[in-house]
């Protein structure tokens, strides 16, 4: 069951998030060049890393779907991509705020990291319309899995190319970790990554629990209905139909 241990996970996430926010504002030192503005780093960069990791996780789960043929993997992949898209919107908005403060513009088209992230987001923005365009659930799941795998492979390739490319304006986060990010900043940064990851996981499990509960309700309605009474057909949706994904699948 996805609802199992959800309370513990929620409490742990809330505790770590609170601790991280306290550490960001009261313990981590201000950056020497950006000053207080650099505090945006602790929300923007972890969200970006978790978003991209979530997209890759969606691809890995989709591989499982194609390998096993079990639709529950498609549901897991769908929810992973769905949550990552929500986080991705947060990355774009917080990044724009940071850009405005640091560079005086909400968006800088010549900055490869920004543009490549936008490209990834636009790519994944087509995921739901793709699903919605295919009516047959089996075909929908297969096509979505192929998309998730190809796009999941594109994510690291895109960012490796950007890192290997020329003019760097954007701060190199991972270089900073191994290089000149001071001890306290580094610790708080890892705490921020941990708490954003827990938040992502919590929302993923919430969504999965919600979808399974809805499916079980539908099943219960079927059992309680008069003999052989057919249920109204499910509305066409981009989301995998959970009956199809199998509510027994955990």
């Amino acid at each position: 069951m996805y609802g199992k241990r959800l309370r513990g996970l929620a409490l742990t996430t809330a505790a770590l998030l609170t601790l991280t926010l306290l550490a960001v504002f009261f313990w981590a030192p201000n950056d020497r060049t950006e000053g207080f503005l650099q505090k945006i780093f602790y929300v923007h960069v972890p969200m970006a890393i978790i978003t991209l990791s979530g997209f890759i996780a969606g691809g890995v789960l989709a591989i499982q779907h194609l390998r096993t043929g079990e639709s529950r993997w498609d549901l897991r992949s769908y929810v992973a991509i769905h949550i990552s898209l929500v986080f991705g919107v947060g990355v774009l908005v917080t990044g724009s705020i940071w850009a405005k403060a640091a560079w005086g513009h909400w968006w800088v088209w010549s900055e490869p990291t920004l543009v490549s992230f936008l490209l990834v987001m636009l790519l994944y923005a087509t995921y739901q319309p793709l699903r919605f365009a295919i009516e047959d659930p089996e075909r929908q799941a297969r096509a979505a899995s192929v998309f998730a795998i190809v796009a999941g492979v594109f994510v690291p390739i895109c960012f490796t190319i950007v890192r290997l490319s020329t003019a760097y304006v954007h701060p190199r986060t991972l270089d900073n970790i191994s290089g000149n990010l001071p001890g306290r900043m580094q610790l708080v940064f890892w705490m921020a990554i941990g708490s954003v990851f827990l938040l992502w996981l919590l929302l993923w499990r919430y969504e999965m629990a919600s979808k399974h509960t809805s499916a079980q309700l539908r099943r219960l309605r079927q059992l309680l209905s008069e003999d052989d009474e057919a249920l109204p057909p499910l509305r066409r949706s981009a989301a995998p139909t959970v009956e199809h994904a199998g509510i027994a699948g955990r």
Partner: protein
């Protein structure tokens, strides 16, 4: 890049963190909507089960 003074950088930092919190709250609101739909459906099913049970009891008492 010159360091921004606290009173200039502060609103930007606050805005970024408010966006983060707002996203979480938005998600909680969406989940609350889903929960209320599940609650409503469960209420309907409870009524359905109760109606079926009372129907069965009526048949049994008639047989007796």
């Amino acid at each position: 890049m010159p360091e921004l003074p606290f009173h200039t950088a502060g609103p930007y930092v606050a805005a970024a963190y408010i966006v983060f919190v707002a996203l979480i709250l938005l998600y909680v609101a969406i989940m609350a909507g889903k929960l209320s739909r599940i609650e409503r459906e469960l209420g309907e099913l409870t009524e359905l089960a109760a109606a079926r049970r009372s129907g069965r009891d009526d048949v049994r008492s008639e047989e007796e």
